[in-house]
């Protein structure tokens, strides 16, 4: 689960990392009030989880509370790189002398958490790593020993950090590691960590101006506080329904819905649909050992997308029983009254029983994944061209 910037900053601040003073607002009037309280120049930041937020106009300076109101009105309800803006963070603008990068990332290849630092802050670290790999320093951390003081001394050297800032950098580094450990984060990033230039406050302070965190979905069961940070009200109904039913569902842009058991097979099914000239409408893994009820829910979710013109069901029965899947499909179709054609491919455990159930319901079965994909693409095209076909038939009759 990716956290919003304001949520990550809240966790950072709670662990002792200095962040700009500010608050989140869902309403432009509230944004104005926050700006008023902060006094002076503020920055209004769209709370969306997309890269390049600043360039896309999602981060703007406001000199007066009225400016803040205007910018918040513009951002709230708009959409930034496809992500709807529902909240803005209004915080005191920082006077920036230097921008640095400090992040903790789970490195799957090294099987370690890694501390990454770079003097090139404020841009995406992947970009720096690609273009100037020598400007990113990676320090792998032993999970039994954690982040040690010497790691941060090395990091400070890479960042060319003035010595008077070393103590506060040590404190920030340790606080970041504590935040990551306690939340079981797979990513905890301060980008940029700035050295301020503000003469009013003396300048030369370290400040976490942007924050990014991803926490491990698989660990959420033991972090109710993080679970509560999920904006369930913002979720699409289909996505919420899928999550609650334990179904992995990712909506895409195509016309052919797919229901598959197993994530790898589900991806392969999408790929084969594309290979035969179709576009998948979604990724959906119905899970291992799915019973009829879950299959029915999955079909409901797929068909709730009006762009779906055909559905391909691909089940390789292992723990999952083909007869349960067939029963679920028949049950769903009885209740949903859909006109969208289904192509069903069942192999494995209780295959014969499953096919018998489909046959009784007059549902076509495909012999292989390739055949299923071909049939589904043909059915989707027939559905999409239904109007055109009718015309050409009429034309043919007249000739």
């Amino acid at each position: 689960m990716n956290l919003d910037e304001y949520q990550a900053k809240g966790l950072f601040a709670a662990h002792g990392i200095p962040v700009p003073e500010g608050q989140v607002a869902k309403d432009p009037a509230v944004a104005r009030e926050i700006a008023q309280q902060l006094q002076g120049r503020v920055v209004v930041k769209a709370q969306v989880q997309v890269g390049g937020r600043g360039k896309a106009g999602g981060i703007v300076l406001a000199d007066t509370p009225d400016d803040a109101l205007r910018e918040a009105s513009r951002l709230l309800g708009s959409s930034l790189k496809g992500a709807p803006v529902r909240r803005v963070l209004v915080e005191r603008a920082a006077d920036i002398a230097r921008e640095l990068y400090v992040g903790l990332i789970a490195d799957r290849t090294a099987r370690r958490m890694a501390l990454l630092v770079s003097a090139d802050g404020g841009v995406e670290i992947e970009e720096v790593a690609r273009t100037h790999p020598e400007r990113v320093r990676t320090l792998y951390l032993d999970p039994f020993l954690g982040l040690r003081s010497y790691h941060l001394v090395q990091a400070a050297g890479t960042l060319d950090l003035p010595r008077e800032l070393w103590p506060s950098f040590q404190a920030i580094g340790q606080a970041l590691y504590r935040t990551a450990t306690e939340t079981e984060a797979t990513l905890a990033e301060i980008n940029p960590l700035v050295i301020t230039a503000d003469s009013a406050t003396g300048g030369g302070q370290l400040l976490a101006v942007d924050a990014k965190m991803t926490v491990d979905d698989n660990a959420l069961f033991r972090h109710p506080d993080l679970l509560a940070m999920r904006h369930t009200a913002d979720e699409m109904p289909a996505e919420r329904q899928a999550r609650e039913a334990g179904i992995s569902y990712v909506p895409l842009d195509g016309q052919i819905g797919c229901m598959v058991n197993g994530a790898g097979l589900a991806m392969a099914t999408m790929d084969v649909i594309k290979l035969y000239g179709g576009e998948p409408a979604n990724f959906l893994d119905v899970g291992g050992g799915a019973r009829a009820e879950r299959v029915k829910t999955a079909l409901e979710i797929i068909l709730s997308d009006p762009r779906v013109k055909a559905v391909l069901v691909n089940i390789f029965g292992g723990i999952t029983r083909c007869d349960e899947v067939a029963r679920g499909i028949v049950m769903a179709l009885e209740q949903l009254q859909t006109k969208v054609p289904l192509v069903i491919r069942l192999v494995g455990t209780n295959e014969a029983e499953g096919r018998a159930i489909l046959e009784q319901a007059h549902l076509p079965a495909a012999a292989s994944l390739a055949e299923g994909a071909r049939l589904a693409v043909a059915a989707a095209n027939a559905g999409a061209n239904a109007g055109t076909n009718a015309e050409s038939h009429a034309g043919g009759g007249a000739a």
Binding site: T109, T349, L369
Partner: protein, 289 residues
């Protein structure tokens, strides 16, 4: 011959009294696997399908000579089960459990690093040497003994490929899933090394997917160390960036881990990459001639 599991494999089931554990114990017994013991803390003295249950792994190993374990315990307890197996005298552990927290996995991997033990998984279907022994949840009947080694990050996609091989008359030496999580106990490279050394294996099928760089590492290893022909399939060409596709490890992050990058790396290493699973048997026939 085969890799990792054979006639000498004596299986201990961790979490044997649970729904999954007991169901698959029966399935493994039916396949001919020597399931010699089970462990569920607090249920020692019971029996499941005639298999004696113990409270802890060490006692089970001492009493039954189990040398391989398979884990079906819930995700919250999986790390503990893996560590207990490693400390209890088990040389090869397969963890089927899906949803193991990443920080648990990182600590487990660090601990196992210094031990003479191997972990397959987590979040994997297990391992089978067709006709000999099955330590996993895969449907046994789709496999046939033969000379193709199969290694995969997936479960059902592996069954799809294995079934295609069997129907095309291509049997398998050993098939295993290394797991769909971001961090795996056994890697593609580990398995490629074992298949390369196994006299029964004449060709290798590698099934990868988006996320991470395990396939790129496999490609580099193949180029330098594998003389046997390798045929691959990579799932997720149509997967969007930044979205997790079911498996915890299947995500294109920061532009890294795309299917195309993996396919290119494998092709450069001389691997034949199939466009779809059904094409794999044809490619294998070509290289085995």
């Amino acid at each position: 011959m085969s890799i990792l599991v054979n006639e000498g494999t004596r299986v201990l089931v961790q979490g044997i009294t649970g729904r999954e554990g007991s169901f698959h114990t029966l399935q493994m017994l039916d396949y001919g696997t020597q399931v010699v013991a089970g462990v569920t803390p607090g249920k020692g003295g019971q029996a499941v399908e005639g298999v004696p249950v113990y409270d802890d792994v060490r006692t089970a190993v001492e009493r039954t000579g189990a040398n391989t374990s398979i884990i079906y315990v819930p995700a919250a307890y999986a790390a503990d089960a893996i560590l207990e197996a490693a400390d209890g005298g088990i040389a090869l552990t397969t963890c089927v459990t899906e949803g193991v927290p990443l920080w648990d996995a990182l600590r487990v991997m660090r601990y196992l690093q210094d031990k003479p033990v191997r972990l397959i998984g987590p979040n994997c279907p297990g391992i089978i040497t067709p006709g000999v022994t099955k330590v996993g949840i895969m449907p046994g009947h789709i496999h046939r003994p033969g000379k193709v080694g199969v290694v995969s990050r997936s479960g059902t996609l592996t069954y799809e490929v294995v079934w295609a091989l069997t129907q095309a008359g291509l049997g398998q030496s050993t098939c295993l899933g290394i797991g769909g999580d971001a961090v795996n106990g056994t890697t593609f490279v580990d398995v490629l090394r074992l298949f390369e050394q196994d006299p029964q294996t004449e060709a290798i099928t590698l099934i990868g997917e988006i996320g991470g760089n395990a396939e790129e590492q496999a490609a580099a290893f193949i180029a330098d160390h594998v003389r046997k022909p390798v045929v691959a399939f990579i799932a997720g060409r149509t997967a969007p960036a930044g979205r997790r596709m079911g498996h915890a490890g299947a995500i294109i992050a920061g532009g890294n881990g795309t299917a195309l990058h993996k396919i290119e790396a494998l092709r450069e290493a001389g691997v034949l990459v199939a466009d779809q699973p059904a094409q794999i048997p044809d490619l294998l026939h070509t290289v085995l001639q």
